[in-house]
């Protein structure tokens, strides 16, 4: 992510929690934000809090993070055959640290957000921004009401408050500018129903130059299948 990412980071607290519907694109957004923060010279840590998904997760980017000087904290058995959601003690330590930039990638709906709830007191103490990621093309008939309900369930499970919505609407490789533009009213509606402001819209770098939307976040696609 280029300049857009750095600008967005200025609006956020040093501790950034990324949550949302599974498959909304939380991991890809987290990777982009983390790389942007590292590029601007911040000391960055990323916590893979996904205790639900067996694969396609932040822990896949260990190599990329190492090159960028980003510290990765992942569930002890991530990407192994052990389906055991155990978070390492370094999660609490990283939140307590209070210096540098911290990202928490929270997997899988409200079920995944339960694990986050265990750290709510520490997060309240540090202060945080909590991004709720939305892809309006994940459902055949997207309902702002259901989106708002999931957001509230995540808040309940995590005992934290969402501070921003991020529009991450995409159709993978078939994403066009129209796909993103068509999603703007949906985000507005979710924002109206939840009272949470929209931080911006993530758009692949190839699309970003052709788009004029407020708070555009040019992103790269890092989450890819193994043959591409």
């Amino acid at each position: 992510m280029s300049k857009g990412g750095e600008t967005v980071l200025e609006h956020l607290k040093s501790c950034v929690i990324v949550c949302g519907h599974y498959g909304a694109g939380k991991t890809n957004l987290t990777v982009n934000l983390a790389l942007a923060a590292a590029q601007s010279g911040e000391a960055v840590s990323v916590i893979d809090m996904d205790v639900v998904n067996p694969y396609f997760r932040t822990a896949d980017f260990q190599e990329l993070f190492r090159e960028a000087g980003i510290q990765l904290i992942a569930p002890i058995y991530a990407n192994t055959n052990l389906d055991l959601p155990v978070l390492p003690p370094s999660v609490g330590a990283a939140i307590r640290e209070k210096t540098g930039r911290l990202f928490l990638d929270v997997g899988g709906d409200d079920d995944g957000a339960v694990a986050l709830g265990g750290f709510s007191a520490l997060l309240e103490e540090r202060g945080y921004s909590m991004l709720y990621v939305v892809n309006s093309r994940r459902e055949l008939e997207p309902e702002p009401g259901e989106e708002a309900a999931l957001l509230r369930r995540i808040q309940t499970a995590s005992r934290l408050k969402v501070t921003h919505l991020v529009n991450n609407t995409n159709l993978g490789p078939e994403t066009t500018s129209e796909v993103l533009l068509q999603s703007l009213p949906y985000l507005e509606e979710v924002s109206k129903r939840t009272g949470v402001p929209v931080l911006g819209a993530a758009a692949e770098e190839r699309l970003a130059p052709h788009l004029e939307a407020e708070g555009l976040l040019p992103v790269r696609v890092y989450v890819k299948p193994p043959w591409s």
């Binding site: 498959g23 067996p54 694969y55 055959n81 389906d83 093309r137 994940r138 055949l140 995409n170 591409s228």
Partner: protein
Amino acid sequence: MSERVLMKGNEAMAEAAIRAGCRHFFGYPITPQTEVAAYMSKKMPKIGGTYLQAESEIAAINMVLGAASAGVRAMTSSSSPGISLKTEGISYIAGSDLPCLIVNVERGGPGLGGIQPAQSDYWQATRALGHGDFHVLVFAPSTVQEVVDLVFLAYDLAEKYRMPALLLSDGLLGQMMEPVSFPDPVEGGAEKPWAACGHQNKRPHNIINSLYLKADELERTVVERFARYAQIEAKEQRCQQYLCDDADYILVAFGATSRVSQSAVDTLRAQGIKAGLLRPITLWPFPKDAIRAHIPHVKGFLSVEMSMGQMVDDVRLAVEGKAPVGFFGRTGGVIPKPSEVVEAVRKMAGGDR
């Protein structure tokens, strides 16, 4: 056709089944298949369907046997170890000439194995999905869109030939997200005059059964069933071919490994090696006719699998010793890299050139 949406393979499969008229899903959670059941549990109550989490895989498949007997489009899904548990029930369903949809989102084995993707249930799917003389239709999608399309086809052919259909997916296809669109919903499927759904004193009883008291009667039934299998082998072989017509080396791969292999073919072509990809869409019936058609011009076939080499048996049976057949695979949940497949073909072609 619906609008394009971005979905996980597992979710798309569940939505496709619903649109194909399935209102009876019986399952039991297991990674990496769980999203199929999770989607069904959310959607079925909203549309008047039944989602039932059974007490075990064995119970779930026997509920499918019951629902299919009544003539409805029934479904169950699981991952490798769970499919092993279902095999007794699948044999009963095949022995009762019932259509149904069974899904295996494959993971590593044997035993509990692992939760990463694999294709090492090929033998089980095509040879021994239960005891006795029988086959099931086996479909192998390679994209999320094809998962959707094959769910519809699987139900149609299962009803046409009155036999179970198995959709063989894998953890990678189940978990990955791709854009898809859905065909318009259909209701119920084909007429089922054989169904045990209440005769209301208007017709004789329909009896669904797989027990035969006399040996010659059972033999006759099985022989008749095999005559139907012969028709299916003649008519229903399906595959997709990519750059095969002038190929010296043809990769044979299904599901996720066909995506890896297609990348490898592109790389090999760029390096001046004439490679092609033949992707079986039906694993039973195996597309042997399409493979045989290439024997005169190829220097070799290479079966690429996420196993120790299972489909390669069918490639060899199709080729009948008339061309070299090699194998490359990774197993235990390891996905082969396109570069490894390229290397395997180059080795077959006689090393670096």
